[in-house]
Symmetry: D3
Subunit: 256 residues, 6 copies
């Protein structure tokens, strides 16, 4: 059920019987020369609405701009500063509880939002108002993501490319995939850019000239569909699991 | 040009030659028994993208949740508290200046956002960073809005009904128009709900049992199209006017 | 009853029997070449104390500096930034509830304060602590204000001129009234300074070279007295109405 | 020169030639059974206006409500929380610099404001925007204050009583002076209420049942006049001294 | 009992039976040419741990950096801005109440922290969460401090010198004591640097070229030991007194 | 060089020639039944001071309390809320730049601080004031940490146990190592406690009854020494690398 499409009387029975909401969040930021800046919010919204369609749980409109200052050197990247983002998301979530929502899944497709959504979730749980958790699609299907591509990467790489090829293929510049790989950093791992254990970089451009990490030349819409279906399955199951929990089991445990 | 659809290299020439952005903002809130909760953000986004398409100016993704606590008694209304909303919008706008944007039109379709967008615009202008103005579609075509309908109203009334009939007709419950009128406050003016000059009400429900103001029974998709085209024209002209101004003429005047 | 004149034991019976306070707020800002910068706080204080005298309700000292950055280009205009003003007023109001006050009238004479007082009032009502409303004198007697003068105006115009001629005539430069009109913008309406529906101006100086709006050449102390008495009457009635309401009827309504 | 009484064109020459402002601040809080709650702001305003009259320096309107939560147990005490008070005063002061003010004397008559005004002054000096200092009238004439009365006290005592007898004698309940003394704590010194070096009290009521400290039975209007004149003299001299300093000598010194 | 040395199960019985914590706070700032920058936090920690050892009350780790911007012109002075310091201390203290702590002694050795700790203490008391008081060692033994030295001083003077000679003698440059005195301001009293009653200085360097106040040439480790023992005694007694109070007697009194 | 031990004149030459500071940060929180609550700040301080001793770079005092609310169910855990912690650390770091510091290593031993230190570092870098990076000791020697122990764990496990056995052996309850393992969660990996990709837990107690993760029965002081030396080596090299960089290479890169 998509909240924004409904008239208010048609939401009454939902709030009487359910207390879960899916809130999609992404970013609007550079994703290399081949992908649209909306990549993350397109993915988050598509997955959240798919899961809502399949389960009947409530999906809210998408928060399209997140914490992306680390991509700001590339034209068009939009971002909110972290404190403003956190307070905006917290405020929206807390106000949802006015209607009886007490559990939220942040359907997220932007790594830069993760820690901030976790912090907001903690505030809401510590105050006892709601239980909100962050879910990032590729974290839910790590094996499939690993299996499908030769050389993955955390940003603008093959997994995101395949997803957009599937969701909004017309927005992918398929003729730039090799350029995307060659102009970026195809082989990125946890320790790239570290010195003696410290992460010394802050911005994507510190490691990649065109903002791309990974090799997207083996991305296809078919693989995107596989990812989409597998991730949707996970989100459906997570929603069902979460809806089934008694609220008491979700709030913070008591002092020993 | 829609920012979220573009890959970053394709935005470079825009930022080299232009410094204007259209930022659509709406709300997700009750709009009576006949209209979807997304009414305001649907209208804002449609108008902003239309004007961007016709002019080539840049349109950003939409901020879908605004300041709507005055509608919170109705199922599904979402809102951010005013300080959080202002800081989020300010942060996003200020960060756009990093790419060279120095003038912004907030394409707004929610009355509850107006004062907050004006406040953000003042902050940006007072600090000399950008000139941002709020534009609300119905304020740009007051005569047409007056002429088309018997009994207008500020919220959920015929003007919004007609617009959604035109933009997303499938989301309008045409069979509930009379109910919407009868269950709400059809005749609302500036002084309704005032006592001896003071506005004594805070929430929509203080004046209208179903959240509706106005009589939407004479709304049609055709009238919606008229409104849409007329308002788009105004937004196009405003964009062109604003793009033409020297920045010096937009910043705050000097002390006498 | 004027709070600042009383010793604390003499306030005890008031707080035992009443829960209403009148809080005057104005501004200290340019009001053209003919009026003192204190115009707004002088008016607010005079009206609040008159109503308190006539009814016995409690009047607090005046908050003399408000949100006036839009007049800052003229010598002497003082202002607090909007967030600081809101927090100061909210804090003072919230702390009044410690003594049992649960309803407040912000007796306001500065248009620039209106939205901020409304926002503070909403915070207090949403949290259930107090019901505070903004009252602006000229909004309470719109017909009389219209009838008395040829060409009104929102700032420094005939209505404010007449009020100060009545309240503190020695502070009016009667010999500058024609200059005030000729150097300013005498004919101002809602759409002055708008472009295609957008309010493009932010500061008074954007529309008026001397900060004046309206034609004050037909202002007199006698008309000021009429305004003062009529507005006082309204404030007295508003106070009585508000004192009579059960608190339950003032707080926010419940969810449908 | 009193800012609020002037029309803006009449302030121009002041700002061209001077850069000093006197800002009176007080409180509205219990001052025992014999004195009005406005005691502190009455004193601050009277002294600031007197010094402005004698020197020609600019005096602004008074900030009537300060940081007085330590008096809140007594009817009518008003207060702003400390962060809100600081931000409001800082904002007003910082905005005065827009007109060329670069030095400010906070003419203060409330002990509870001192540390907050010092903190605001530090912020303004550290940022290089203005030099603002707190001046409290009784600190300027300690010997006279000591000599005139048998048993002084920091709050509601003879020095404040005498001042109000002089400034606004009609507001003093002369028939309650002995009661004020007997119901309060007449002999208060630095170590009253301390335990082993720690100040264990927070509120006036912790030490005084009626909120009074000191013995006011020997206060008279004549002594009040002496105090007023002596303190005014000090403020005049301070103003003249401050106006004479080069701004460079007022800002923070450089790193060694 | 030193919290940081204990494993959590070994703290259980303490929290079951006691609700007091000692929190040492100091500064890291210049203390003249002869004393280490850690002087204040060394003293605070030594005293707090001594009192905890002698009484069994809980001592937490030390907050080593306080509000010291008034010493910033001297190499190495560290400081947090006042709002950040207050919020950090408040947050830590408030969170201690989660374990049952409801009374706290801030064992403080830096004058610049006093007002901020008082403000935090007030916040905690006004909200009813905890009773926290500031204790500064030299305020607990004023007579001894006066008796031991010819010429005291508030910063870098003989009392602090003697304390560090006792606590960490190896960090004192005994060969620089005369230089310390001669390069600073040996005779400082309340009115030094005042003009007509106003404190016109903000930084230590405004009054002392080397940051020292007082004459430390008669400081010795033996005198330091006397001070340490006497102050420890006071802190022990204060702790015992505080632990003995019923919580109801510590919270704010009710409205009259 | 340890800042707190030095008198200010002895720091002058350092600031003239160097611009690097090591700032140790840890936590005070439960570390299982066998380790002291100070474990993290003890480790951070020991490593930072060792590296400072070996290189001559400046080490500041330690920030002993961090972001640990996820351990609050266990007696004695102290924490600051995340915004207060960030602002305190940011303020201290920013103020260090007053002396010429432009690069900082946060020598950190608490996982819960990482994201907050990264956020502070980003603020400082984005504003161009300083380049600050977070370094966590075990991240610098991942292979050694893996090799030394059978079953590692992120908190209270063998690596931390061995470190404290080496640094402050008297604080380790060696007789509780098996209990620590058996009462906690010995086998913890990235996906423990996740559901369908989402991290559903917030607190340590959600996964471990005694707060321990890992098997510490093979921890020894000798292994601790190995870890300490290896990590110190890394920190020394990082310090030298960082000191060698031109500041221009550390600040944020320009827009493409």
């Amino acid at each position: 059920m998509y909240l924004a499409d409904e008239a208010w009387p048609d939401l009454e029975s939902y709030f009487e019987t359910e207390s879960l909401a899916l809130v999609p969040l992404g970013s609007t930021e550079q994703h290399g020369p081949h992908l649209p800046e909306g990549t993350d919010h397109l993915i988050a919204e598509a997955l959240a609405r798919e899961a809502a369609d399949r389960t009947g749980y409530l999906c809210t409109p998408t928060i399209n701009v997140g914490v992306s200052s680390h991509h700001r050197q590339f034209h068009g990247t939009m971002w909110a500063n972290a404190p403003a983002f956190r307070d905006y998301v917290e405020s929206i979530t807390r106000n949802l509880t006015y209607h009886g929502i007490d559990r939220v899944i942040y359907v997220n497709a932007h790594g830069g939002n993760v820690q901030h959504l976790r912090e907001v979730g903690r505030r809401l749980r510590d105050s006892g108002d709601a239980y909100a958790i962050e879910w990032m699609w590729d974290e839910s299907i790590p094996d499939l993501v690993d299996d499908l591509f030769e050389q993955n990467g955390p940003h603008g790489g093959p997994k995101e490319t395949a997803m957009i090829q599937h969701i909004a293929g017309e927005l992918v510049h398929d003729d730039r995939l090799a350029d995307a790989r060659d102009g970026g950093l195809s082989a990125f791992d946890e320790f790239t850019g570290r010195k003696h254990g410290a992460r010394t970089f802050y911005d994507a451009i510190d490691n990649s000239a065109n903002g791309v990490f990974g090799d997207q030349t083996d991305a296809t819409a078919e693989k995107g569909q596989q990812l989409f279906e597998a991730a949707s399955d996970q989100l459906v199951r997570l929603s069902e699991w979460l809806a089934d929990q008694p609220f008491e089991s979700l709030v913070a445990k008591r002092h020993v």
